[in-house]
Amino acid sequence: MDAVYRALVDIVGSDYVSVQPEDLFTYSKDLGTSEPGKPDYVAAPKTTGAVSRILKLANEHKTPVIPLGGGMSLAGLALPLKGGIILDLKRMDRILELNEKGRYVVVEAGASHGKLTSYLHKHAPRLMHSEPGAPPAATIGGNLAIHGQGDLAHPYGFNSDMIAGMEVVLPTGEICRIGSCAMGEKWYTLHPLPDLSLFLGWNGSTGIITKVSLKLYPCKKIREMDIFCVEDENLVPEILYELTHAGMAGDLVAMSSKLPPYSDRLHMISIALSEDSRQEMEFKRQILFDTHLAKYIREGTGGISMAGRDVERPMVSKASDWKKGGGFEYVGAILPVTDYPECYRRGAAISAAHDIPYTVLGRVIGAGHAMMFSWSYAFNRADEQSIAQARKALHETDDLVMELGGTIWKPAVYGQKLLLEKMDANTLQMMKKVKTMLDPNAIMNPGHWEVD
């Protein structure tokens, strides 16, 4: 065995490092259309100290390091493009501190969203965090590293806007804290210290997030979802404008999909509502449906399709059922709410051109300040041609986002290149300086966000 392997065994123990072909094979793939990328080593550290030691080791050997959370990425974001060490962070999953009245919780970055939800349900049922649409196994650190968003996106923005402190290990192994936790042991705010948030949205290419303080929000006793349905996609922005003006929803998502047939050429606007009493819920519904949306109902251009149903997260993963073989991947993008009609029409056209049932979804971020779109494409995992077709549709969608002036969200390498090509030259140089300064040996997730 080589020196890196022996050193990794020394750091994490032999049970938590592997060069076995079956393990390397497993870590070489994700669930999307990306080509496999084989790591040389897989290591699963338990502590921040171990992460730090591994990064120092990697620098010594100029070995790439790819941090991995829940492995839920569909876009190849945690696949080794140039070999190296996959750093599986799922063992770093402790919940370290809950400050209930201060409404924050400090967790290790490998803790899953499902684990935190379960913990809060048991220990602080009046609090919640913003869970993404990903499966519960998605990790908190992984989601932040891609600027994730979740079911509190409308009132509070991106998940990465909801943090009150971070611990990160720099590519060179130094352990840093960002926010009030840099001054002591209280993890209640990122502000008003100088902005050092250089780690969000970088796909782990500037450092490894190891601890996070997450802001928590009131969790009401009754949580339900209503669905307002319209035929004309051009109405969606103005309806969302009405809903965000009322400001009463927890999550606002507009969705249209070819399958099941009931949603074809229709736009389902799901409105999550939560309150502690039926009276409060009804008050909200009066404001929303009897005031803000009443004219659409009267005109017959919009209607309440569902009321009071249990909350479901956006079902983009259902798209995987629409082709034999169970695969799906999506392009995410941030665009203004006003672009919904165009995003729907053009996305449906791309799908039709590739004979894939369309699924287009847009989630409101903030008070309608932006929308996170996704265009999902189903494919057959066992059919290379089907995978290639989906990949082509994904790339065409990336191109569409750029044409519309959008920003690709958690872009795959193809999308990253499009963004970098279009980016302001000075911004690009600043990215390069930051990256070079933090990661002088370019070991962190190489191939991602690389500025020439």
Partner: protein
């Protein structure tokens, strides 16, 4: 092309005009009803077409055995008067489109139990009561081939029903059962009321679920332990299409030893669950729906009901939460029967 067999002369000769005068959602006297019925028969616009909440009750109220509700819906469609906003009409129509292959047809020896579009409730049809029936339409991927389509009466769209129903009947008939027990009143009403009213031949014999349950309880009478609950029954709209079978509600309740509480909104006076009223485009429809629901449940509560018995999945889906919040337990009729013979509810 299927058209409604509606006897205009019977209707014009009717002095009661119960279809409209007894409608609890319209305020109409006999004179007004006569005038509006004439308009309906002549194919003219009428406030009835706009105010109808599509509760089906007039089908039961009609003393002439005519089909006033089917007439109303036919006229709504002919005149383009939809009770619902157009996106919901499209959604509803598209919902009934099968999209996951053809059903696997297996011959049934004896009775079939048709789950229709509620294959997700197949867990309810287990235990001794259902030993002698073979379920069909238990696959949620294929269930739309068995969808009776009658829901489109709420949408003002008889044409959709008429276009699709023969294909659905073919699928059911292909199982070659001796007779078909229908899990839902709506299916039973489709094949025993709607289809004949529109001149469609139904190629199988239908049995109402309650009649079937009653007969099974009779066979298992020795195993029944009276339950002793006080119960209310949420009568579904589609039950109005088979009022002759409504008697089995009380027969079953008597057999299983529960008291059907006396209340204002019972039997022919039953209130709609509201699921179709909520989304209608009439002003204040949503609040009107909530008022009806509250009135209905408070009536159950005042009458001392401990359980509310359901057969219609839409009623259950619409009301179970509110009923539970009033301290009344919602339960399926089939589960009530199962409990009576010592089985656990599904």
């Amino acid at each position: 092309m299927h058209t409604l067999h509606f006897d205009e002369n019977k209707c014009l000769a009717c002095e009661a005009r119960d279809c409209l005068t007894r409608c609890r959602y319209m305020n109409m006297d006999a004179q007004g009803a006569a005038a509006e019925l004439k308009k309906l028969i002549a194919g003219e616009d009428s406030p009835v077409l706009h105010d109808c909440i599509t509760c089906y009750a007039c089908e039961e109220y009609c003393p002439m055995g005519n089909h006033p509700f089917y007439l109303i819906v036919s006229r709504q469609e002919a005149l383009g008067i939809s009770p619902l906003p157009s996106p919901l009409v499209r959604q509803g129509i598209q919902m009934g489109i099968p999209f996951r292959g053809e059903p696997e047809i297996e011959k049934v020896d004896g009775l079939a139990l048709n789950m229709g579009v509620f294959s997700g409730l197949s867990h309810l049809i287990s235990g001794k009561l259902f030993e002698n029936v073979t379920p069909i339409s238990t696959d949620s991927r294929k269930m739309f081939h068995y969808f009776c389509q009658l829901m489109y009466l709420h949408y003002g769209k008889v044409s959709v029903i008429n276009e699709r129903l023969e294909g659905v009947m073919e699928a059911i008939s292909a199982h070659d059962a001796d007779a078909v027990v229908h899990f839902h009143d709506e299916c039973y009403g489709t094949y025993t009321s709607y289809a004949p009213a529109f001149g469609m031949a139904v190629p199988f014999k239908s049995i109402h679920l309650f009649e079937f349950l009653h007969d099974r309880l009779t066979e298992l009478a020795g195993e029944i332990h009276p339950l002793g609950f006080r119960v209310a029954y949420q009568r579904p709209c589609s039950s109005r299409l088979s009022p002759d079978k409504h008697v089995f509600v009380d027969k079953i309740f008597d057999m299983v030893g529960v008291e059907h509480v006396e209340r204002q909104y019972k039997n022919e006076e039953a209130l709609c669950c509201g699921s179709t009223i909520m989304p209608q485009k009439r002003p204040d429809s949503r609040r009107f729906c909530l008022d009806i629901q509250r009135e209905n449940i408070e009536d159950m509560k005042r009458a001392g009901a401990e359980l509310c018995i359901f057969n219609c999945p839409a009623c259950m889906q619409t009301l179970w939460k509110q009923i539970t919040e009033y301290g009344i337990m919602p339960i399926w009729m089939s589960d009530l029967c199962r409990m009576a013979i010592g089985e656990k509810p599904a």
